[in-house]
Amino acid sequence: MPNAINIALIPLLPFAGFLLSGLFGRKYIRNFAGMLGTALILGSAILALYTAYDYFFVYGKVDGVYQQFVPLKITWLAFTKELSIDMGLVIDPISVMMLVVVTFVSLMVHIYSLGYLKGEERFATYYAYLGLFTFSMLGLVLASNIFQIYIFWELVGVSSFLLIGFYYDKPSAVAASKKAFIVTRFADLGFLIGILILSYFSGTLDFQELIARLTSPESNEAKAAAASTFLGASALTWGAALVFMGGAGKSAMFPLHIWLPDAMEGPTPVSALIHAATMVVAGVYLVARLFPVFALSTPAVLEMIGWVGAVSAIVAAVIACTQTDIKRVLAYSTMSQIGYMMFALGVSKYGGEAGLGYTASMFHLFTHAMFKALLFLGAGAVIHYVHSNEMKDMGGLRKKMPVTHFTFLIACLSIAGVPFLSGFYSKEEILLAAYHSNTAIYYIALVTSGLTAFYMFRLYFNIFWNKPYEAHGGHHGHGEGGLVMMLPLILLAIGAAGAGYIPFGELVSSDGKALESHFDIAFSAAPVLLGLTGIAVAAWMYLKENKKPENMASSLGGIYKAAYHKFYIDELYLFITKKVLFNLVGRTAAWFDRTIVDGLVNLTGNTTVLVAEGIKKFQSGKVQQYAIYFLAGVVLLAAFFVYVWR
């Protein structure tokens, strides 16, 4: 059986790191904070690996089906006997897998940051934030209650906000952190409403109960939720769609993706941890967590998820081909790959062979975490070396940074789907799942995989080949970065190369039963060929410095320009918020506030002043005048009592 203390310690160790570094970091353990945080997360990672081993190979399987365990559940807020917000730990295949991913990538980033942020003034603060993030992400993964997941969801959002805005003296970083927070918060509004709808109809907040009640068609809860409709869709559909809206915001799905590229203003290791490997897959995880509800009760929403994922995947891939900031290319690549995971879930069914998409999505999540974290950390090393994010300042770095070059190449090959690396296996499964379920999405995915190979190798050739490296200004005393920066790259490269050999189908599937994953050479031929073509085109264009990219860009004209400007989606948002919302709603509200609300208050005040101006003359200081008023008053009162009152 699962050991509740071991599992609870996995999130609590980074939390302890957060408290220690956050409270004492500035004064007492300034230089020691990084080592402390790393040591604690190392403990978490070991516990997570142990838990994974224990779960998958010792106690998890009962009669060939992986069970869900809830080793710890504490009632935190009890509303009624039935309805309460619990704090619990859930152990099932996906949460265990996420534990491993989060702790491993977080450990790599902790180690890497020791070198990357050396000498940074707010070093301890940085490690405190990393600890907070890791704690919240692990709490999110382990949540047994939909409200608990929401709490940690917001905590993750806050730590992401803090880390994007880590260089708070840089206006662009501040703007990016605000943008990320507002956009995801806006999506979370939908999530919260979705939670309320689902829990209102199911009468519980607990995942297990909620799924059980909403998926069985005979249950009263499911009937009630399906029966009450709003705007042509059942309440259940609305609830599921709104929950997905939260997931789409966090996972940067089109059209809520605009915050992710800007989030690259944060320190690069943070981008690797939060905006590539862990936090942005929270949306995928959420959909996977509630997958039975989506798959069995609201297939329409699941189809929408598939399309949102597919559109995000291809839009992001097209944009990634045109960006020149290497971190932005990686950001769009992340969005594209998460789109893959989303539509893999979207095309999946619950249970059996048809549940391949679910397994594929989780598999891709796992391999993507490895190679994307590696890409970001490699990009970080490059940025550390050349002090620029722009491709034009790079080129010819393969001799200067051999380790980075080699690991980066592995990651690029992996994400491009070159056979025998991890990305190949997970991507093939996704394509296979899409092929069997939704042909349109399959073709979109196929095109995207070609584009992926192209833009990744565009990045690779531009950084490491193209033109000979010339030092730009300043100092060049330091080399590639010390062991602390190289070690995570090497470890992640091993992961990126070898993660594909994990028999994922046997471990993670929608219903817990082992899934036979089979590879068909004939089926793999198309995506692999497309990928190789993408690589070849990139090599043709970018291997040596030449005029081809410019010519290509000018011949594509409008399309290139639109993609370069990210299809003007940012501008569209700005138009909607600034022109439409601020002008129409904001101005009207401001007018109402200034004229009606303020006007009423001013009216009261002015009336008082006017009346006072009128009657103050009565206080003239003339005693005899007062006496006359008094006398007149007495006479009037006397007359009143004598003639009227009786």
């Binding site: 206080q619 003239s620 200081g621």
Partner: protein, 104 residues
Amino acid sequence: MMEPGLYHILTVSIALFFIGVMGFLTRRNLITMLMSLELILNSVNLNFIAFNKYVWPGKMDGLFFTIFIIAIAAAEAAVAIAIIINLYRSNQSIDVTNAEDLKY
């Protein structure tokens, strides 16, 4: 000769009251105004005594009220004189039209 009745006394009292009111409202000298005030109070005293004697001869209430009013009038005269003296010290005048500082 006729014994004076209630109405005779009330007539005197009313005359006294309005003489007092007239003096209070028209005179500018504070001392004279104070004297007019005393006239008003005495007209009230006269009323109390008359009603007590002619309407409820067996009771003492009117007498008590009268004695109270005389006592209060004495105290009030002392306070008023003190105020008037102080006013004279600051204004060099006891004309009521010169004492109009306390206004809006």
